[in-house]
């Protein structure tokens, strides 16, 4: 497992596969999962520096996944990346330990900057 890897958690397959390929191309070892359950298994097994987390997942609520991740892998920086803009949900996410809150779509270059920033702060 690469040191600076990203886990993309989103239920849109097309989005996940494109983003993972793009990230890999720019030197970020990345993987993608489509459900919260898978995400938690991956996080528990691997060493992800950053998780890009969608708040709408088929099996679990995003905030639930966030709390789980913070529990099992507190060193992972979780960046919420959601298409469902909600200030209260965002606030709750930040309160529960999310590193940043982004609204889709994010320019790829901007996303890279955010990942960079998350990685820098990674313990």
């Amino acid at each position: 497992m690469a040191e600076f890897s990203v886990l993309v958690i989103d239920d849109e397959q097309e989005f996940v596969s494109t983003l993972v390929r793009r990230l890999c191309k720019r030197g970020w070892a990345s993987e993608g999962v489509l459900t919260g359950g898978e995400a938690i298994r991956k996080i528990a097994a691997g060493n992800f520096a950053v998780a890009l987390l969608d708040m709408r997942l088929p099996d679990m609520d995003g905030s639930e996944v966030l709390r789980e991740i913070m529990k099992i892998s507190p060193q992972t920086r979780v960046v919420i990346l959601t298409g469902h803009a909600s200030a209260s949900e965002g606030e709750e996410g930040i309160r529960n330990g999310a590193f940043d809150y982004l609204i889709k779509p994010v320019e790829f270059e901007t996303l890279l900057e955010k990942l960079q920033a998350a990685r820098k702060r990674s313990p």
Binding site: E12, E14, F15, T18, R21, R22, K25, T82, G83, H84, A85, S86, A87, G90, E91, I94, D100, Y101, L102, I103, K104, P105, E107, F108, E109
Partner: protein
Amino acid sequence: MTSLFDRIASLFSSKPKLKPAELQAAFRSHYKEFRSLLTANNNALELMAEMEQALSVGKSFGMAFIRGNCTALSVNIYKMIQHLNRLADGRYAGLDQPFRAITRQLEQIIASRPATTEGAAILSMAEVDAGMVDQVGEKMANLGEVRNRVGLRTPDGFVMTAVAVRHFTQVNDLQVEINRRLKGLDLDNLEELYTVSAGIQGLISNAPLPEDLEEAILAHYQQLATDAESELLVALRSSAIGEDSSNVSFAGQYRTQLNVSREFVGQAYKEIVAGKYKSQAIVYRQQRGFRHQDVHMCVGCLRMVDAAISGVLYSRAPDDPRSSFVMIQAAPGLAGNVVDGSAATEQLRVSRTVPYDILDRQFGAGREGGGGASLLRLSAAQAAELAEVGVRLEEHFGAPQDIEWSIDQAGLLYILQSRPLGRPVPGEPPVLIAHSPAADELSDLPAPLFAGGVCVSRGVGCGPVFMVRSSLDLLRFPKGAVLVVETPYPDWASLLDRAAAVISETGQVAAHLATVAREFGVPAIFGMKQALTALENHHLVTVDATAGKVYGGRVEPLLALAPPKPNLMAGSPVYKILREAMEYITPLNLTDPTSPFFRSDSCQTLHDLTRFCHEKAVVEMFNFGERYGFDDKAAKQLVVDAPSQWWVIDLDDGFRQDFDPESRYVDLGHIVSVPMLAIWQGMTAFPWAGPPPVSLRGFGSIIFQSTRNTNLDPAVRSSLVAKNYFLISKNFCNLSVRLGYHFALVEANLGEFLTENYVSFQFKGGAADENRRLLRIRLISDILNEFGFRVEQKADAMTARIEKNTSLFLQERLKILGYLIIHTRQIDMVMGDEGMVAQYQQKIMADLHTLLQTGEGGMT
């Protein structure tokens, strides 16, 4: 209106007689139609006013507003036509035809779409020029022009045209779903806006590209990669059609993707197409009056320039089209660093004439601090080359230009974009640097909290501070707050329609956010270093961007100086549609009811129809008595102390309820008609002085000798008079008077709606020769003019009108008319004598002023 007079004059002759109850029923039904017509008239005029205001005031409106108002307007005018025809037993059926013609025109205008685009799905930049805006969008058309007509270097590339995006959209059947999601979107709800925007963009980005389009894109990509490059990288740039017709730059609203490799070209294309629905683009289009379906997202695919230094070049100072220098913003690397406000930049002012001397240069700190900028200075030769390019492009395009450029590692200059420089606010002095002559003159200003930075958008704004550091803050931004940021990212642009002012710690005038702030008229200071630390959220501040100062609290004298917000809609497609529609709505061609062209088939606009229906409705009400004669029992003789020679007919509710309908007489005390009582007050306020002493030249003195009579009894000689009737209801009065040789008619409606209130007065005739009759009419006209009447005169007949005023105001006018009816009898006989005229005029005016001052001081 001779024919009307004749009709009115014959009002009481040989009509089929109606019983009092029948007469009242007929009046009630007519009156109801009349009032409904006036209500529709009222609505129509209000709708027109609202539409005119939308054109002039610059509030934002969309097609829904135009469609809604046009429909409501048509409905009201249709109602007016219906009511008028019921009033007149269908005699105005001819209105149907012009009404249909006008509404058909309006429908066509509202449904109009820009010309459909045709041709190739992909065009090489080598074949693009400014004439191809409708195929490749403004940005790429201009870039093609720069390359192929001006002959400057631009990156090689190609454009996915409007045909391509239509193909993509249609194959995936996207538009219906997009429209469904946008319908009813509340722009004030930021969460909803961002969610809908993200959803639509996801929808587009995840839709598959049609195979043929994808193949064509890759084939063109392959052609670019002729050299033995390991991997060609391209930049994909949005180039929207329909975004730029009114100096609207949509600065930074759409997306650009840099360093895209073959694998991601298709995806990047879809994402840029999706960028049409970025939240700020949705807001921006709505604010500026663009229809979503009129904007077609073309995409330019250009070879990446391996940039050593890049920037923005203004062929004139952004807010001064007369400046004698070009302005250059430069930063190491890609141009995006300058326009997204993040990089430390060098700013140069360079003379516009050979040898293009550098006038000055200064450094602006970027987000990462200002240190690196000094390492990379634009050489004098590069500055001169840029200045020359700026002047050339301005000459070619005929307007100051805003140009993006890069110089590659080999020192070659590439033009990436050239567009008209955002229009400066009219009448603004040419100052960019913080200085505010108007504010300087204000004394008693409090000490500012701090000062500095660069004014990137003039003006003064006041509101609570709200700092935005993240997307989360974005969602919580309150309307009317002062936006405080570290870096002026283009993403913050979606807040500009709700921000009172903008303060940024970094950035400069070329940042996209600055451009959008100028377009929205939001005052903005950039490069104000201590802003985030010195300010606190929710603290009220006044930002004087022009002077570069921030004050605590609300500073009224400064806010009073703030220029009005620009009309964001002016020139936009929706604005144009409304303006076009208005040509069939507001112009008034039927101004003169006495003209032979005052006919239904002359109606060319909805306003004409409104005016025509209103005028004819009033006439039809006048004709009420003519069309429905009444039997003598309906008319009650008015009793004031003793029976007078005035008769009153109650049409509805003009008598007190305890009035005995069998009585032949009506006491003044039983009359509750507001307009009649006002007229009566005027008639009786002053005793009539009798006919004037007639000079020897006066004709018919004998007749007038016999009319010397100081009471109000007009029935002097039965051969000369008809009975004088008041037709009344509580709010309505129609009085026809034949006094001596002249005929007068007063009609008034004093209801609840201002727009249905009117007083009209007609006056005709006299015994003296024409010249003296005209002189009398002129005297009366002058007096009525003085009291606000609109007077029209034709031969010796005069019509005076006053409308849409309060009941109290109109009652005063009715008193004046009552007075004039009595006191101008027979003064035509003396109108040849200037001295007498002056004397009469003086006396009349004095009386009238007394009458109005004393108010209730009538003699009744």
